[in-house]
């Protein structure tokens, strides 16, 4: 790309409706490449919707929405395969094994994602080597989440959208997966620059600790936008009040 934009995500008055209801109201913000964003807000604030819009799974109703330099929804095709999503739904086929799921997803993603080496590396990293032949239906929720994380990372995404990624995990697994999903330098498989991450969650302390930018949503509107160092407890409290 000749003029690689510096912002991974640039929203300008983004509005998303669901029927008559406004789910996202007039969001304007920019996320630089390589940054980690902590997305906070009470239930129903629009966090998951925002992540789905950024993933190209929901179209914006109004306003500008550029992801990885491409305007959504028009240039959606250009960002496909470059975004990893880990949300509440694991997006895995329950009747197939973990490896079969990864192989299938890898084939659709194409390129490096389909190579057995990549799949083995991810199984190793998520500590699922022993469970690779298990059908997903037989996995516990924690293991399913790890398998879903492996699938999300398969395409070595430039933008990683995480919706409460460590929910349902025991502390050890959480630490391990946290490191894998963390702001580590992009692996040997890609060289497109650092990975941008947007992490939605309910744990302000953990979120503040590892993020470069804090975004708070309340009732679908932007209620907080600050650097973690500048965020006060009162502001966090107001978000959830």
């Amino acid at each position: 790309m000749p003029d690689e934009p510096t912002d991974a995500v640039a929203l300008d008055g983004l509005v998303r409706r669901r029927g008559e209801r406004l789910v996202l109201r007039d969001l304007t913000l920019a996320v630089p490449r390589g940054a980690t964003v902590a997305l906070l807000g009470p239930n129903g604030a629009g966090k998951s919707t925002l992540l789905r819009v950024l993933a190209g799974l929901l179209r914006p109703s109004r306003g500008g929405c550029r992801v990885l330099g491409h305007a959504l929804p028009r240039e959606r095709a250009a960002v496909k395969g470059r975004i990893g999503v880990l949300a509440h739904e694991p997006l895995l086929l329950r009747d197939l094994t973990v490896r079969e799921n990864l192989v299938h997803r890898g084939r659709l993603l194409g390129g490096e994602a389909a190579t057995p080496a990549r799949i083995d590396a991810l199984l190793e990293a998520t500590d699922l080597v022993g469970r690779a032949a298990y059908p997903v239906a037989a996995l516990s929720r924690g293991l399913t989440q790890r398998a879903a994380a492996a699938a999300a990372l398969l395409g070595d995404p430039e933008l990683l959208l995480l919706d409460e990624p460590l929910a349902n995990l025991d502390p050890v697994a959480a630490e391990r997966l946290g490191a894998l999903l963390g702001p580590a330098p992009r692996s040997r498989f890609g060289a497109a620059g650092p990975r941008t991450r947007i992490v939605a969650g309910h744990d302000p302390e953990a979120a503040l600790a590892e993020s470069d930018l804090v975004v708070g949503l309340r009732g679908g509107a932007l209620a907080l936008l600050a650097r973690p160092a500048d965020v006060t407890d009162a502001e966090i409290g107001a978000l959830y009040r």
Binding site: G81, E89, P90, L91, L92, D95, L96, L108, L109, G110
Partner: protein, 226 residues
């Protein structure tokens, strides 16, 4: 990656899922056999031939296919596979086409077993080799038409809460023409003194298949993208 490879990938997945957790094929087969036995009693132990036999075979096929159509997009809806697919660069048309091909191959597999059973249970006289080949060819074509319609209908129904109710409501009217043509084609072949198939029925069936494959391709974006 090319669209053809995507189609192959999804089609292989459909068959793998069916092998791993057989749902569609056994359901369609058991339903068909049950229906044949039911006809045996409903027609008061009658052996049938000609247009009546064609109608029984084709309507049973369609009703069995409706069961398969209802299951066709469930993984996309219930297991988030539509989202997963949309996160990859694979094209919407490839998914719809793969679904149609999956249903088509399921129906062909169904007929491989159901057709001999039909002949055994209901047909008054076994058709000759030439007639049989033509019947099979008509079934191949009508199955493709049902599959092309079914891929679209299944996707529409999957979006709805009352999926099982919508499939027959949408599927039956849309497939009436295919069943009508196929019945005209198969009818003479199943008579005791077999006739010849009018050439225009082949053409009409092929056109029907083509039109609905094109429709599926045209609306694939609307089905897959939200």
């Amino acid at each position: 990656m090319s669209a053809r490879a995507d189609v192959r990938t999804v089609l292989a997945l459909e068959w793998r899922r069916e092998r791993r957790a057989p749902q569609v094929l056994p359901t369609m087969l058991l339903f068909s056999v049950g229906a044949f036995v039911l006809y045996r009693f409903g027609l008061q132990d009658g052996s049938i031939d000609g247009p009546l036999a064609a109608g029984v075979l084709l309507v049973t096929t369609l009703l069995a296919a409706l069961l398969g159509i209802g299951r066709l997009w469930t993984a996309e809806q219930d297991e988030g596979q539509l989202d997963a697919y949309r996160l990859t660069p694979a094209s919407p048309a490839a998914l719809v086409l793969a679904k149609a091909l999956a249903l088509w191959t399921f129906l062909l597999a169904l007929h491989a077993v159901a057709l001999p059973l039909f002949a055994f249970l209901l047909l008054s006289s076994a058709p000759g080799a030439g007639e049989l080949a033509q019947v099979v060819l008509v079934l191949v074509l009508v199955d493709l038409g049902i599959a092309a319609v079914g891929a679209v209908v299944g996707a529409i129904a999957a979006a709805a809460r009352s999926r099982e109710l919508l499939v027959p409501l949408l599927g039956v009217p849309l497939t009436i023409p295919a069943i009508a043509i196929a019945s005209e084609a198969i009818g003479p072949l199943l008579r005791a003194d077999p006739g010849v198939v009018d050439g225009r029925w082949w053409l009409a069936l092929a056109l029907y298949d083509l039109v609905f494959l094109l429709v599926g391709w045209a609306v694939s974006e609307g089905i897959v993208e939200d």
